[in-house]
């Protein structure tokens, strides 16, 4: 048995990327177990009793998967995205702050699920209302009016504000529309923006995620954590 975990928006999308590889290995059974935003891939040898053939084939298959998937493959161990991020932050001696809107605390919950996370996690602001975005994170009300709470400029200001007010090295922010209400033609339900701030400046990205309220929240939390992880590589 060999296993690895991939951060991905959907199993179908991951499958399209790796199908051409694992189909070349009929003696290996490949299965995927997906939760919204994180997919675990398992390779089980079914080709017979020769342990060295099994090991060699699995090694080769996993090597090809790693080459294809690159940074999207985040672990070959039994660890979560939050644990990988914790290791990266600890190794580099960096502290983290959060600013969460649509996830309402879910990302903080994941980060602090890891024992010892107080070594690198300072805390965060759950800025569910616009007033909290302005008063606790310093997001200019004119930005909220002009671009809306779910926008790249607001995500960036949230991250910048969290980094400054919590005196952290890095900050991650998220603002989005989890539904069922609140969607529009321009920004449908599932639209999320992530923001990032460090000593070099700010960045943001936009995604459109499928699913109901619970799935959008879980998927966006995992995709945000994965975006942060890639920033740390």
């Amino acid at each position: 048995l060999r296993q690895f975990k991939v951060a991905s928006e959907a199993e179908s999308r991951l499958d399209a990327r790796i199908e051409s590889i694992y189909k070349e290995y009929p003696q290996v059974e490949t299965t995927m177990l997906s939760s919204p935003g994180v997919i675990s891939v398992y390779h089980v040898w079914r080709g017979g009793q020769d342990p060295s053939e099994a090991q060699q084939t699995l090694e080769e298959l996993v090597k090809r998967m790693k080459d294809r998937l690159g940074e999207a493959l985040f672990t070959e161990a039994e660890e979560t995205l939050a644990e990988v991020i914790g290791r990266l932050l600890r190794d580099r001696g960096l502290t983290l702050a959060l600013a969460e809107s649509c996830t309402g605390g879910l990302i903080g919950e994941r980060i602090t699920d890891v024992p010892g996370s107080s070594d690198y996690f300072l805390g965060g602001v759950i800025s569910y209302s616009n007033q909290v975005k302005s008063e606790l994170l310093g997001v200019e009300p004119v930005l909220l009016e002009q671009y809306g709470a779910v926008s790249a400029p607001v995500a960036e200001e949230m991250a910048k504000g969290a980094r400054e007010r919590l005196a952290a090295d890095l900050a991650l922010s998220i603002t989005g529309i989890a539904g069922p209400g609140g969607g529009s033609a321009e920004k449908p339900v599932g639209t999320v923006f992530f923001g990032y701030a460090d000593s070099q400046g700010v960045d943001s990205t936009r995604l459109l995620l499928p699913g109901d309220r619970a799935a959008v929240r879980m998927r966006s939390a995992n995709m945000a954590l994965d975006w942060l992880r890639r920033k740390l590589l």
Copy 2:
């Protein structure tokens, strides 16, 4: 079938309170399904084909349960503590803010799991580090030094600070030791303090909860939500 949900620290504790009642009803099968902090109780009629006898017996049994359990019984419907709290806040036109330490965002995640929660939930502060407790919530560093971060005075100041800084009608706070590290003889792992603030003043309470890190966090989130719910009755 009749069902209800009870906020309780442990199934054994709930069972000790209601056992003497349901044992009087051998024609009703009573089962409990527990998650840390919330226990669902199911009564299924097994006494025969007479629907009026079934209904009458179940009515009487549930009435006796309600009398025995009082406010601990929080719903007879398929709803969560967060939904019940949302209904109470909405009915009374009140807004809520949070200050979370050991739960790291879990309570906010629960509250915002409810669609439309932005009507009454303004946001919160995840004050994982002491510095965030002081700078974002206004907890005096001397309190943290004198009583420790996990203490009644700090829980109360956290709630007061969240209420003021987020301009909410009510605030709920939580600070505790989820483990595995951080426990002491005076404050073992599982010690949590809840704080509450409204226009009348502040209050706090202390609990000692069983379980590992994940169970302490989940149990303390549910017990904190239940404490808030009782404040709203």
